[in-house]
Subunit: 215 residues, 2 copies
């Protein structure tokens, strides 16, 4: 059955899933890139960005897993761009240029309606204004037998976790201290929500934890 | 120079350093033992408790490191026992029986004065009522050239971190979700306090992170 999966989502040792002050210059927030350094070294990332060969170890394998069997994505609005409030125009088309790395329908959660945006390479951004459950229903309809990947950010993942809609979550725990930022799990009783850690896999630059919904 | 070290301190993936509702039946709090399962399997633990041979892998090596070059310990009162408020009498002598596993002076932080308690095997418990800096000064005087280990619990470690008195902290990140408990790092900006993660070491049942004070 089609699952909702969080993949390759990095958190710091102190539990932050994003840095502070996200803007055009800091799409991952200030110090956010430290969270993703494990990913930037992988062959998958290097190939995606035409940067030559990358490492083909455990981190790379975990990165690859994150893209397997995906039929749709869901993104919080801040993952799509730095604009808040109404869309001033249709100029902003995401962080990724003309050919975004999704290649499937992507459902962007927002309070502000906007026409679908068809990009090159198979990605179409759909803007969903009627909530997370609607976005999931639309994404599952688009994905068919395949899974839906929940890209983030922190606030969006927390919303889906609170109502037990996430089936599987792969966190990459990084040996860094951010000190401040958005806490992914703070105040969220995942255990009471029926989640458990099923696997812990030591990678080159992160410890990969696989959490699944059980109860 | 003599250092103040936190060692072998386990936290869950969701950041808790202890379970809830510590009492006589649950010295580590409810579900607290899940944090320490990495330690219970080690040869060090098994030998300490005369339980035969244990594992001699990375977790064991990290456990052994925790006991090297120690001249004194500091414990928060809850690490010493479940009694709160005034000491009713001198009957409570710690969780550990007649021969506690310290074998050096141990300084217990409390608001309630009590005479020193000399145990077998070299451990003497001293009860310190004038604060964490006094406890550290007394422990360092007792330890001489050797280091002082800060045993916990969570609240005590946080107090020492806030005033930058911890020199080194070894955390064992466990692949478990406690859901609730005492957060070790929540709301504490270790980075601003000058701390950084220097090492990440994959053990059998925990990922060991070594944090040191730099700035």
């Amino acid at each position: 059955m089609s699952k909702l999966r969080v993949q390759c989502f990095a958190i710091s040792l102190d539990g932050y899933g994003a840095g502070t002050d996200q803007d055009l210059q800091n799409p991952l927030g200030v110090r956010g890139p430290e969270l993703m350094e494990w990913f930037f070294a992988t062959n998958l990332w290097k190939q995606m960005h035409k940067l030559g060969e990358g490492e083909r170890g455990i981190d790379n394998r975990m990165a690859e897993r994150g893209f397997e069997n995906l039929g749709a994505w869901i993104l919080g609005r801040n993952m799509f761009g730095p604009i808040r409030g109404d869309w001033p125009d249709d100029a902003w088309k995401g962080w990724w240029g003309d050919v975004p790395p999704y290649h499937v329908p992507v459902f962007v959660l927002t309070h502000h309606a906007r026409a679908p945006l068809e990009m090159k390479g198979g990605t179409t951004f759909h803007f969903v204004t009627d909530g997370i459950e609607s976005a999931l229903a639309q994404a599952k309809a688009a994905a068919g037998e395949r899974d839906v990947r929940l890209g983030g950010g922190v606030a969006t993942i927390r919303e889906y976790l609170k109502v037990r809609l996430v089936d599987e979550m792969h966190l990459a725990v990084r040996p860094v201290l951010l000190g401040e930022g958005e806490s992914l799990l703070g105040g969220l009783d995942l255990r009471a929500l029926g989640y458990a850690v099923d696997e812990s896999i030591a990678g080159e630059r992160a410890t990969h934890m696989i959490i699944r919904k059980h109860a």
